[in-house]
């Protein structure tokens, strides 16, 4: 699934009426996670990696993020976004008949959309998140503290 298709599906979920969203809450919770996974799979495939089928804390999405962030600390710019997506999935699954479930699904879709936008942007401009979230320079190959390589620490 390409990123445009992911974004289109997320937009469609966000535009769907409350009753329709509420009727399909558990399925949509699962789909939101799968859409997030599709985004990260796209990133990994574009970098020649085989996307993992393992899970972290019970979620493939988090394992995919960890895989993508290995050696690429700027990818931590979307770490919390991934965790928020998992949180919204859990919230919807735990209380599928909650009065607020449609809004929760929409917010989950907006979180997933942010992930798609970030990864899409980073596929076009690799430096996105590099300067700020990993505190690394953009215009030089010099790693800060190359003697101790603090920038290479997992974060």
């Amino acid at each position: 699934m390409d990123l445009d298709a992911v974004a289109a599906r997320l937009d469609a979920i966000i535009e769907t009426g409350d009753a329709t969203l509420a009727d399909a809450a558990p399925e949509l919770a699962t789909e939101l996670l799968e859409l997030g996974e599709a985004v990260l799979v796209r990133w990994l495939a574009a970098h020649g990696a085989v996307p993992t089928w393992r899970s972290v804390e019970g979620f493939r999405l988090l394992a995919l993020h960890r895989q993508a962030a290995r050696g690429e600390p700027s990818f931590n710019a979307c770490r919390e976004t991934c965790r928020e997506l998992v949180y919204h999935h859990n919230l919807i699954r735990l209380e599928p008949t909650h009065a607020d479930v449609a809004r929760r699904i929409r917010l989950g879709a907006m979180v997933a959309r942010h992930l798609a936008l970030f990864v899409g942007g980073k596929l076009e401009v690799a430096g996105l998140g590099e300067f700020c979230c990993s505190s690394r320079p953009l215009h030089t190959g010099e790693g800060i503290g190359s003697e101790t390589a603090p920038a290479a620490r997992p974060n």
């Binding site: 931590n76 919390e80 976004t81 505190s135 320079p137 953009l138």
Partner: protein, 308 residues
């Protein structure tokens, strides 16, 4: 009032003298209203910001370290930097000097060349404006001083990236109850709640806004910011509170650009947390620089009886 941080060194940084002037004005006004003394660093220099860091990170470490050195020479053990970029860079310099011999060597060489003592890691603690108010006044102290509650105002708190990332340069965070969280920061939420605001559960409080690419790749930044804005609105927020001039300007600028380029209008207002706290403390909108914002919030504030 805890007595902690009653008088600290103040490092406004370049942005607070330019696009972030309202943040400078409101930070000083809030400090004054709370009885906290800010002493601006003498002859401070740029922290190395984006430009120097991108070309020569060790030079950036030196530039930030020089500011820390000045704070020490002025007799302070704490410097407060309200800008996330400055705060991050001073913290990064602290980390680099503590862990990287090459950074220490460059800092020593450049300090000697410039004719001042080299900063040594561990002498001065860098704090953010959020730490400053939270630790000096606390929520209870703030509640006691509120003259014009933010009651009814729904706020999405946006912290941006450089306040929490990369985690290893913020060793004081993630230390359990009472400390700030890098995964889900809450200090701004805590302070604004104490001032009466209703914080909404905002899932993108540290999400990327594309800030560093705001000019080189504007469409990516606009799309990211538009999602931040629409999500805040979906959360029911009237206002996005910011604590960084780069975030603030980016949100304001791309809110306008989203309407102009993509035809997507959003109405959520963007205000610095210090502006909101200042108005809760009874200061006028002008006193906290609301007129300097690009985001037009006068109608909302008038309707809520704030900043008169």
């Amino acid at each position: 009032m805890t007595g902690k941080h009653a008088k600290v060194a103040y490092y406004p940084g370049c942005a607070l003298e330019g696009t972030g002037h309202a943040y400078n004005r409101s930070t000083k006004a809030v400090g004054k209203a709370l009885g906290l003394d800010l002493v601006e660093l003498k002859n401070w220099n740029c922290c190395g910001a984006m430009e120097v860091k991108n070309i020569d990170p060790k030079l950036q470490t030196y530039l930030s370290a020089r500011n820390l050195s000045i704070a020490g020479e002025m007799g302070f053990d704490t410097v407060m930097a309200p800008c996330n970029g400055c705060y991050h860079n001073l913290k990064k310099a602290e980390y680099d000097l503590a862990h990287d011999p090459a950074s220490r060597r460059v800092n020593n060489e450049l300090s000697a060349k410039a004719g001042h003592g080299a900063y040594e890691a561990g002498r001065v603690n860098t704090i953010h404006a959020l730490d400053w108010i939270k630790e000096a006044i606390g929520e209870d102290g703030l509640k006691a001083r509120v003259k014009n509650s933010l009651k009814g105002l729904k706020i999405a708190n946006y912290y941006g990236c450089m306040y929490t990332r990369p985690r290893h340069i913020f060793p004081e965070k993630d230390k359990g109850p009472g400390s700030e969280s890098t995964a889900k920061p809450h200090f701004m939420d805590d302070l604004l709640a104490a001032a009466g605001a209703e914080n909404v559960e905002y899932p993108l409080k540290t999400a990327c806004c594309g800030g560093a690419h705001t000019l080189s790749d504007s469409d990516t930044s606009t799309k990211l910011v538009l999602n931040l804005l629409t999500t805040a609105e979906a959360c029911g927020a009237d206002v996005i509170a910011t604590e960084c001039p780069t975030c603030h300007t980016g949100l304001e600028m791309h809110q306008m650009r989203a309407e102009k380029v993509f035809g997507r209008k959003t109405t959520v207002k963007i205000l610095y947390f210090t502006q909101l706290l200042g108005m809760a403390l009874g200061l006028s909108a002008r006193k906290v620089g609301v007129h300097e914002n690009m985001s037009e919030s006068a109608d909302l504030l008038r309707a809520r009886g704030l900043g008169r």
